[in-house]
């Protein structure tokens, strides 16, 4: 019989090797599927690599696609670190877009720096406030945050739709065709966020801010008292509480922080690309849920989220531009799913080791042989 045994200590190198190996396995499995479909897997991968990363302008487009994933990925990673399962990146992202577009509409005529700052602030505040609802319920009423954040996603989506389709709100275009075909009021052109030309690649401002946020979160989690407390609470909330750590407040603050990061994503989306509040498009793309995948791939490490967001963004970008009769249309989605599946399965190898043992009765305590062996 083959048995999984928990590793006593977890070798460091495994935390890099296992995810990399998992991606390779996913690519091989994806290749098998392409081959079964009658296409050439090598060629398909070459085209994905080309369109996602190597072709002229491909990396720039990939960064644009990666930016929202970067923020929602960071939002998920920071919350999941403390076993607070914020599934509400989606709604917090939408609320961030609502807040940021209002700010952009209000002060878009002013200097760009002021506009950007106002949009970031409004986006973060809106996202944080949205997540704080679930945070307060979890911290002081012991409500399961998975349920509340999920429900708040639907509320946010409906609220955004109401702003554009159901009311004559500040966000809605009320002139010209806007009355016949409801749509958001676009920002003025001078409020559009800049892109920085770095030779081979154009970096949108939102992506740059996202990288800065990733670094900030890594520092926060690694070096601050708050980060220390997050680790303690994640490992054993009871010990944290009896050591005088304010666990309720930490849960609340962490969820609000996570929401703020997702809200920044909404702001970047409006400022970088959409320049308008577009509820239908936002609910179609599902950045919030994709962010959970990005965070899981990065094993909740904020710096690694930058890499996984670019990887997933590149796949999405390639998928979009390669759609056509000669390219298996479901391939990119299939690949993304396979990668997640393989990485999650790979986790098992990082956490357990495989041993062949003679068949024996399984004792519930055998999971902890050292303790039970007394």
């Amino acid at each position: 019989m083959i048995r999984l045994e928990p590793r006593v200590e977890r070798p460091r190198r495994l935390s890099v090797l296992v995810p990399l190996g998992s991606v390779v396995v996913a690519l091989v499995l994806g290749g098998v599927i392409v081959a079964l479909d009658g296409a050439d897997p090598i060629a398909a991968y070459e085209r994905i690599l080309d369109r996602g990363f190597l072709a002229d302008g491909a990396l720039s487009a990939t960064l644009i696609a990666a930016t929202p994933l970067l923020f929602t990925g960071l939002a998920a990673a920071v919350a999941f670190r403390m076993n607070v399962f914020n599934i509400g990146g989606e709604g917090q992202f939408v609320m961030g877009a609502v807040g940021a577009s209002a700010a952009g509409l209000a002060v878009g005529d002013g200097p760009l720096a002021v506009t950007v700052a106002a949009m970031l602030l409004a986006g973060a505040a809106a996202g944080a406030a949205w997540a704080a609802i679930a945070g307060a319920l979890r911290a002081w009423a012991n409500t399961n945050e998975i349920i509340t954040t999920l429900m708040l996603n639907y509320l946010a989506a409906n609220l955004a739709e109401y702003l554009i389709f159901g009311s004559k709100s500040y966000w809605r275009q009320l002139e010209g065709t806007g009355l016949m075909f409801p749509q958001g009021r676009p920002l003025v052109a001078r409020a559009f966020w800049p892109r920085y030309d770095l030779g081979p690649v154009e970096v949108p401002l939102g992506f740059a801010i996202g990288v800065a946020v990733a670094v900030g979160l890594a520092v926060l989690l690694r070096t601050t008292r708050f980060g220390f407390q997050v680790r303690v609470i994640a490992d054993e909330p009871r010990a944290a509480r009896f050591a005088g750590i304010r666990t309720r407040r930490a849960v609340f603050v962490l969820l609000a922080l996570s929401g703020a990061v997702a809200g920044l994503g909404g702001a970047a989306d409006v400022g970088d690309t959409r320049h308008v509040l577009d509820p239908k498009a936002l609910s179609q793309v599902g950045y919030g849920y994709a962010g959970i995948v990005v965070a899981a791939l990065a094993r909740l490490n904020p710096l690694a989220v930058v890499l996984t967001a670019v990887l997933m963004g590149g796949l999405a970008n390639a998928g979009r531009s390669l759609q056509g009769p000669d390219f298996p249309s479901g391939l990119v989605g299939t690949l993304q799913g396979l990668i997640l599946l393989c990485v999650l399965a790979g986790e098992a190898f990082a956490r357990y080791r495989i041993r062949r043992v003679p068949r024996v009765a399984v004792d519930p305590e055998a999971a902890d042989p050292v303790g039970a062996g007394a």
């Binding site: 045994e5 006593v8 200590e9 070096t223 601050t224 008292r225 708050f226 980060g227 220390f228 680790r231 303690v232 490992d235 054993e236 009871r238 010990a239 944290a240 509480r241 009896f242 050591a243 005088g244 750590i245 304010r246 041993r355 003679p358 068949r359 024996v360 009765a361 004792d363 055998a366 042989p369 050292v370 039970a372 062996g373 007394a374």
Partner: protein, 508 residues
């Protein structure tokens, strides 16, 4: 006559190089009580798990009536007539006694037959339990009876009991011994696992001593001295008595902990504390003894700020505590060694150095603004590891990988280095080996010598008597009696722990 149950050269290894049993031989004769004596970690539980089919030995085998057997599961062992009463009972809490006894037997669940069986066996062996009572309604002692009845109902010819007296009052233990004698009188055998010498002496015919996974020898109790057995068990000479540990300084007058009229509910909403009054002075050890489940946990949690008191007040070093707030209790000068050290006390997967800094990381010198100074934190951890002689591969080792004694030292180092005025210690040596017990007791006594008031909650009377200046007995959420160590008598305390107020009056 062939032994009823025997182990022949049983070796059991666990991953990570732990050899829990090495070439262990054991002979249990029909009709005897055979004790397995050894410290925690000596391999007693592993051996019993091999004997009952839970583990398969890596080498050696088990014999029944002289015939080798290979159990593939606990069911095989049960069918071969081996019964086991685990330290932690394997009962379904929401089922009735009769249902629990009927569980796991082949055929339809015959409640009525099972109830009749419970009554019959109860009468025959002196194990009275109401067959229709639900398990959670029963006291721990009664639950143990159900476990024994379960084994008897399957006609166990050998009954293995793992530390059966740990949860019993001295009186209940006596009653249990009588039951065991009745069983052996019928030709059944009993394997009695314990680390308490006096108990083994009271109940067993022969004893096999285990140390470090090896059988050190089997003796007839009539022939063996306690000193010899203790030496076999520990591997060196030990002091046997519950002598009071010497103190450098007498207690002071200042009250550092005052608990007045405290009432609180337990986890199920039942009244757990019914008006507790206590005072602890600086430099004094107040020992509270009682059988587990009489309000000790709730009392500790109320004082630590982890449970709401429905009435009464707690004052720590003169500061009144309001609503539950562990942080406020800490600030006022409380240190805690909780009963469940690895989960309530420590974050098990975090490095030793982080656990040592669980309190100190908030203030300078470890804190600098919003940041934690990792290098200082590590230096401080190294210093504490030296000072408290914590055996760890390094400051970054996950705490759960340390032995129980070292885990407890991490906790004591953390709490004592915060310079508390009061130390609340709940069963601080439970599950530790003899060496670690000595260290932990030394640390507690020296804290008291330094002027810390200690509230010691323990089920171990010897521990209370060796550490405490004053002794109180807790029973069903009340303090039954409070007396000076000098006036405390083991017999009377034992009776009081069982709720016998008459004994309390004669003692005070």
């Amino acid at each position: 006559m062939a032994p009823a149950l025997a182990a022949r050269g049983v070796t059991k290894r666990f991953p990570g190089g732990v050899v829990a049993n090495e070439a262990v031989d054991l002979d249990v004769a029909p009709g005897e009580v055979h004790a397995l004596l050894g410290e925690n970690g000596a391999g007693k539980s592993t051996l019993s798990n091999v004997l009952t089919g839970l583990y398969r030995p890596d080498e050696g085998h088990v014999e029944i009536d002289g015939n080798p057997v290979a159990f593939r599961s606990p069911r095989d062992a049960i069918e071969a007539g081996i019964g086991m009463v685990h330290q932690h009972f394997r009962l379904v809490e929401t089922f009735t006694v009769a249902e629990n006894v009927a569980l796991g037997r082949r055929g339809p669940l015959a409640r009525r037959a099972s109830a009749a069986l419970v009554r019959d066996l109860g009468d025959r062996y002196g194990l009275p339990v109401d067959p229709s009572a639900r398990i959670w309604q029963l006291s721990v002692g009664e639950q143990q009876r159900v476990e024994i009845l379960k084994a008897l109902s399957r006609d166990a010819r050998v009954l293995i009991l793992d530390e059966p007296t740990a949860v019993l009052t001295p009186h209940e233990a006596e009653a249990l011994f009588a039951v065991l004698r009745r069983m052996t009188g019928e030709g059944r055998s009993v394997v009695f696992i314990s680390h308490k010498l006096d108990e083994v002496r009271a109940v067993a015919d022969r004893v096999t001593v285990l140390r470090d996974g090896r059988a050190e020898g089997t003796r007839l109790l009539a022939d063996a001295t306690s000193r010899e057995l203790a030496r076999l068990m520990v591997g060196r000479d030990v002091v046997l008595s519950a002598d009071r540990m010497p103190r450098r300084r007498p207690p002071g007058d200042e009250v550092v902990l005052r608990v007045h009229g405290v009432e609180a509910a337990g986890d199920r909403g039942e009244p757990a504390l019914r008006g507790i009054d206590l005072t602890v002075h600086a430099g004094e050890v107040l020992g509270i003894c009682g059988v587990a489940g009489n309000g000790q946990r709730e009392l500790a949690e109320v004082i630590a700020g982890g449970r709401h008191a429905t009435a009464g007040t707690v004052e720590i070093a003169g500061t009144p505590m309001g609503r539950p707030d562990p942080r406020r209790a800490h600030r006022a000068g409380l240190g805690i060694i909780p009963e469940d050290r690895l989960h309530t006390g420590l974050a098990p997967s975090l490095p030793v150095e982080d656990n040592l800094a669980l309190l100190a990381h908030r203030h300078p010198p470890l804190a600098a603004g919003p940041f934690v100074r990792r290098r200082r934190l590590r230096e401080r951890a190294r210093a504490l590891i030296d000072e408290f002689d914590i055996r760890t591969p390094g400051p970054t080792t996950p705490t759960r990988l340390l032995s129980g004694g070292n885990v407890q030292k991490v906790l004591l180092a953390r709490e004592l280095s915060a310079r508390p005025r009061v130390l609340l210690a709940a069963s601080p040596t439970r599950g530790l080996d003899v060496g670690a017990i000595e260290t932990v007791r030394d640390l507690i006594v020296s804290a008291a010598d330094d002027g810390v008031g200690v509230l010691l909650l323990s089920e171990d009377l010897d521990e209370i008597l060796s550490l405490a200046d004053r002794v109180a007995v807790i029973y069903e959420g009340r303090i039954l009696s409070e007396l000076d160590r000098a006036d405390a008598d083991v017999e009377d305390l034992g009776l009081l722990m069982g709720g016998d107020l008459v004994a309390g009056r004669s003692a005070s």
